[in-house]
Symmetry: C2
Subunit: 323 residues, 2 copies
Amino acid sequence: MKDLNDMIIPGFDDMVAAHDRIRPYIHRTPVLTSSFLNELTGAELFFKCENFQKAGAFKVRGACNAVFGLPGDKLEKGVATHSSGNHALSLSYAAGRRGIPCTVVMPRTAPQAKKDAVRGYGGRIVECEPSTSSREATFAEVVAETGAEFVHPYNDPRVIAGQGTCSRELVDQVTDLDAVIAPIGGGGMVSGTCLTLSTLAPGLKIYAAEPDQADDAARSFRAGHIIADDAPDTVADGLKVPLKDLTWHFVSNHVTDILTASEQEIVDAMKLIWKRMKIVMEPSSAVPLATILKNKELFAGKRVGVIVTGGNVDLDRLPWLAQ
Amino acid sequence: MKDLNDMIIPGFDDMVAAHDRIRPYIHRTPVLTSSFLNELTGAELFFKCENFQKAGAFKVRGACNAVFGLPGDKLEKGVATHSSGNHALSLSYAAGRRGIPCTVVMPRTAPQAKKDAVRGYGGRIVECEPSTSSREATFAEVVAETGAEFVHPYNDPRVIAGQGTCSRELVDQVTDLDAVIAPIGGGGMVSGTCLTLSTLAPGLKIYAAEPDQADDAARSFRAGHIIADDAPDTVADGLKVPLKDLTWHFVSNHVTDILTASEQEIVDAMKLIWKRMKIVMEPSSAVPLATILKNKELFAGKRVGVIVTGGNVDLDRLPWLAQ
């Protein structure tokens, strides 16, 4: 790690150390392909299936790295976080595996499936309103009360180093990739991808994919500084949070472009993946395919890694069946 | 193959030859596990994921074996069949890969997703009423009209030899299995499993799983002769067809038991697999887990292969969301 303008920037060695630390607690997830989707897009797509990951999402990588890297004197008070869902599950899972307490602040509107899963892993939930401001205020109270170690869902060097292990596996599983594309919310997965691939595959292009209705990262990228929205509304519930200084560092230095898609395009891409690939994944995870389908010329003839970030969806409220 | 009471019985060598013949056209599908489901059942379950198979179901194995084994003088008139769905898709896929015509008789009530997929692979559909009697009458007309080679969905030695390649892969992928369980409709997958495992793993128990509402195979098994129902009604739409002489031969000689589950148990097991394993599979494929959950004492502490037969489900009509 190196210190830059008061930020701790995780480096390639931190990612390698994270991988060694978390390997007993995570899956090396499979990479799936679809000849139908290759034909449809004109690209060769390699889907890195973090929907099959422990706790149902890539976020368990960063959460495990933070929890299993905690020094002994911090274990008793445990960990705490705020999260729109998957980081909450993942931190609860990691804390459960290490046997320490975990408190999570979640929007009351988060999918019931995610709340149930947090409690299933032994996490304690404190609810807030679905806005960045309410989340941050509620969380400050929780930390004051518990004295727990804050593990931010993405703006944390331990978390970014953990997320970087995903693309390390991907380039080991698939040779000669031309590009990788991942959804972007707060930017943890994209930052980890930048961290790893800027060393392992520096010529490879890194794209981020975002909903039109929560396009703060795309606007930040074009403006050259962070633009944060309060409480954007999108079916891709994992992608509502804004960039922070640490993820902005990686995004602004290494990302080739940020592409966006409409709500309908995201839902159509999600249903198409379920139908043709027979995998259950979240709306957020469909945003990359939605943007590839809109920008075929960028990807035609290319070998493209697509990060399927998670599979925690409420099966009683599928977006293509909504009223 | 050997001749027995006018039946051509496929043997182990036929299965090996089938595997060599079809390998370029099928996937060696992955085996997935779930620590949650292992804990829930007390068994170690190994899910052989034929929902990821070409055309979305195991049936492509038998269909490809029949189509790619056809002699040159039979190619021009093509192939024909009747099927409640997946065999139709699979034969259309196989015929398309070999470039020969394919006609399928399907119940008009078959899921729209399956009809669309048959046409997508280039198959021609002739509709019938959803009963065994209507299907057989309509099919006789089709054969008279086209002169096509009949590839029965299961009562065909070429098809059974092809289906047997699935459990050959399974015992190669997972060592020391105690049992294998597969859904049973006409008995093609179960017969192929018997064919292969009676040679490769003769001590292993073979269970079949069936809906209460289409339990003709279970009643046949107890009676000692084939009992066929006309037009049973179950959410497991792939399992409505009766045993025939060839599949009865394998089932009556090699199956340990046939277990059944209610409609609600099947739907609950299906939703549980989607939720915890993040895979899309058909109601028929959930019947094995539903019966394992009802008969935990049979499987506790055992290593059990579970054949997930297919993933072709209508995403607009999920059974837990039905009115």
